[in-house]
């Protein structure tokens, strides 16, 4: 993310403009640090990464700034008065942008630039480069960072003629002349720059001298001249050099000592930031000592897995399988034995009786809309319900139209219808019809009842239009529906029917729901005088109660022995679990 420098809003990477305020996010010209290459905002004065100064001392170039530079250059000039410095080289000094050229050897005059010299933290390092007078001037310039530039009169030193000439030239009109170097004759080469004999031989082999042509051998640029120590300084440096100072062993600088020390002064211009005030409390000391002690402690051997834990894990796994086995036996044994003990102790609750009464009260040939809204997951408890209720509806000679809000429900419903219809002599299309899955999710029930029945609907089995079936003659509108029977695997289906159909159209409705949906269905049954659900059966037990109420035992009632045994087993498991828990607690004390 890029934070806008104007409003602070976060923007995506590579954004060019702020999405909030429209400000450009990338500066037109960024200031590249000459030392580490980091891109800094154009208004930065120092590098955000290495602390190197990005603009010359005293801020942006001004009319006063060249004067200050001139003083420094003059100080350097004082060292080598005979040296002729070309205007272009001085221009490079005066231009702030020349800072970027510092790494280039030919432009190392940048080291004389105020900004670059300013960034050199250690005066001792500077002394290796500049004469003592120059260092003094630089130090003064540092102190006078915000002070007005030093005038010529204050210095009291004469301005050399080349500098006078330079002042007359406007900065923009500085002529671009080829760089001229200070050339020294062979005899003028200082001793410390003499080429070693063996290297000279090597050079002559590589580039043999052309006869009649004298090559200019020594060409010492001004920046290098500026580095040459004076006689007094040479002695001082020699005195300061440690005995074991490394000396160059090869090349032009062979024999020279302390040459490596220049390197950091040239490339790493860092300004050491002062450390923030540091304070610590006794608590910090204690924590630090603890940390130090822990760090110094020898490593401990890995903790071994003790025996009892393995035993406990094995016991837990074994116990789980024992419980599974007990439940399996509780389910299977009554079925295998074919016991029918529960039927003698069965009863029917009030919601079941109410549902039975609602269906029992239907007129012969009444049109009933049935919705099978469940999946195979709860089919074990929903199908016995559907069988019991459909048996009762067919017994009452109802005309049944089935739909489903789930894709699987239509197939499950068809299975139930086929099983039940045969016993009652019902004919598909005449006495009952399956319209299948109705798409629509949240608006499904409403889309079904609006304009019910739609001639374009096709049935589930034969894919024929609804209007082609004889049962369509009995259904002209939604008002012809005398009862809605909803089989809901989840509470959401029941809620959709209640909200979108039962409430707005005030149609009588009963429901069979899965055991998990029962708590959400009961409020609609116990709804004061306006019972939205006229009857309710719940789970496999509800189906068994309905069968018992009708006096026709079937699959649901037959499975009540297994269910009774499983329920009592679970109750006993709760009891045993608590006994084991308290015994364990007593053992642990």
């Amino acid at each position: 993310m890029i934070d806008c420098p104007n409003c602070g809003a976060s923007n995506k990477e590579e954004s060019k403009f702020c999405g909030n305020c429209g400000q450009p996010l990338v500066a037109a010209s960024e200031m590249v640090c000459p030392m580490c290459g980091t891109e800094n905002p154009p208004e930065s004065t120092t590098c955000s990464q290495c602390g190197a100064r990005l603009v010359p001392l005293g801020g942006p170039p001004s009319e006063e700034q060249p004067e200050l530079v001139e003083e420094e250059v003059a100080a350097v000039e004082g060292v080598e008065e005979e040296e002729v410095v070309e205007p272009e080289e001085v221009e490079g000094v005066l231009e702030p942008g020349a800072v970027e050229d510092i790494p280039e050897p030919e432009d190392v005059e940048g080291i004389l630039e105020p900004g670059a010299v300013e960034d050199i933290p250690e005066p001792e390092e500077v002394e290796e480069i500049l004469e003592p007078e120059a260092v003094e001037e630089v130090a003064e310039a540092e102190e006078a960072e915000e002070a007005p530039a030093v005038s010529e009169g204050e210095l009291g030193e004469p301005i050399p003629p080349w500098l006078e000439k330079l002042k007359e030239l406007p900065a923009e009109e500085t002529p671009e002349e080829p760089k001229a170097r200070v050339r020294l004759a062979r005899a003028e080469l200082p001793e410390w720059l003499e080429i070693p004999p063996d290297f000279e031989d090597m050079l002559s082999e590589v580039a043999p001298t052309v006869e009649g042509e004298e090559l200019e051998r020594a060409e010492i640029p001004s920046w290098l001249e500026a580095m040459r120590p004076g006689e007094a300084e040479e002695d001082a440096i020699a005195a300061e050099e440690p005995e074991g100072a490394p000396a160059e062993s090869t090349g032009l600088l062979r024999g020279l000592k302390g040459t490596l020390a220049i390197e950091p002064a040239l490339t790493i211009a860092r300004r050491a930031k002062p450390l923030p005030p540091f304070s610590f409390s006794a608590f910090d000391v204690d924590r630090a000592q603890t940390f130090a002690r822990v760090v110094k402690e020898p490593g401990r051997a890995k903790a071994k897995i003790v025996g009892p834990r393995r035993v406990e894990a094995l016991a837990a796994t074994t116990l789980r399988w024992i419980i599974y086995l007990i439940i399996s036996i509780a389910v299977a044994v009554p079925i295998l034995l074919g016991s029918n003990w529960a039927a003698a102790n069965m009863g029917a609750t009030a919601p079941t009786v109410a549902m039975y009464d609602a269906i029992e009260g239907l007129d012969e040939g009444a049109v009933v809309l049935i919705s099978h809204d469940y999946t195979p997951g709860v089919a074990a408890e929903m199908i016995p319900q559907a069988e019991a209720v459909l048996n009762h509806l067919m017994e009452r000679q109802g005309r049944l139209i089935n739909i489903s809000l789930t894709a699987e429900g239509s197939r499950l419903a068809q299975q139930v219808f086929e099983e039940v219809a045969e016993a009652h002599g019902y004919v598909y299309g005449e006495d009952y019809l399956n319209l299948g899955y109705m798409v629509g999710a949240e608006v499904g029930p409403r889309s079904i009842v609006e304009g019910f029945p739609r001639p374009t609907w096709t049935d589930f089995v034969e894919q024929r239009p609804f209007s082609e079936f004889p049962i369509a003659d009995y259904v002209g509108s939604i008002e012809d529906i005398e009862l809605i029977v909803e089989f809901a695997g989840g509470p959401e289906f029941l809620r959709l029917w209640l909200e979108q159909v039962q409430g707005p159209y005030q149609l009588p409705m009963v429901a069979g729901v899965s055991a998990t949906a029962d708590p959400f269905a009961r409020p609609y049954y116990h709804n004061g005088s306006r019972k939205q659900l006229q009857g309710l059966i719940t789970g496999l037990v509800g189906a068994a109660e309905y069968e018992w109420q009708r006096g026709q035992p079937a699959s649901a009632l037959a499975s009540m022995d297994s269910q009774s045994l499983v329920h009592i087993t679970i109750a006993l498991l709760i009891l045993f679990g608590n006994v084991a828990y308290f015994i364990g607690k007593l053992r642990k004390g």
């Binding site: 007990i326 439940i327 009863g347 195979p376 899955y437 798409v439 629509g440 999710a441 708590p519």
Partner: protein
Amino acid sequence: MRRIVNAISIGMKRTIPMSIAIAIGSLVLIDFFFDERHINALGGFFVDSVVIIVAFALLLGLLNVLIVHFRRIGRRQEGWPYSIFLVAIALVVVVAGISGPETDIVTWIFDNVQFPLQAAIFSLLAFYVATAAYRAFRFRSFESIAFILAAVVVLLGQVPIGRYLSDLLPAAKEWILDVPATAGVRGIIIGVALGTIATGVRVLMGFDRPYGGEESSDQ
């Protein structure tokens, strides 16, 4: 020019969908409260539109599943062999079901694959409940005691053996389900209803835009 394009873009992205949602939502709501022929016809039209859109959404869902698993197979991602099975079975069911949902192949797949698998997975719940009853139902506090007692009473009162043990157990079970449980569920239903109203108002006023993708809400 860029500002104009941005304004149009924002309009296309936010204002126009929001206007459509508010207008149609209000219309369907009005249709629910008023019995006027034209409004009812418009409301019915939009309800039918939802049915068509949902049908297409199912198709898009199938396509998305196929694309995802084809990509997984192509990249040899973890579990890619299962994706082969998924794609193959999906294509078989789709091809078999083109002629109708009650063809022999579709019926056979439903009766012998889908039904047993779903029923078996749900049946495992009985075993997990039994294990949890042994491990988790602990008499640790007054609340846990009340919870366990209610569970045991409903467990026993629900089945004939409870009636066999005592007539009080079925009556106690009915009382627990009719009074405390129904009261709690009523509270939940009323809370959901109030939340639904609040959400509906926010959508109708444009504060919530569930149809706008990311950054769809001001809050």
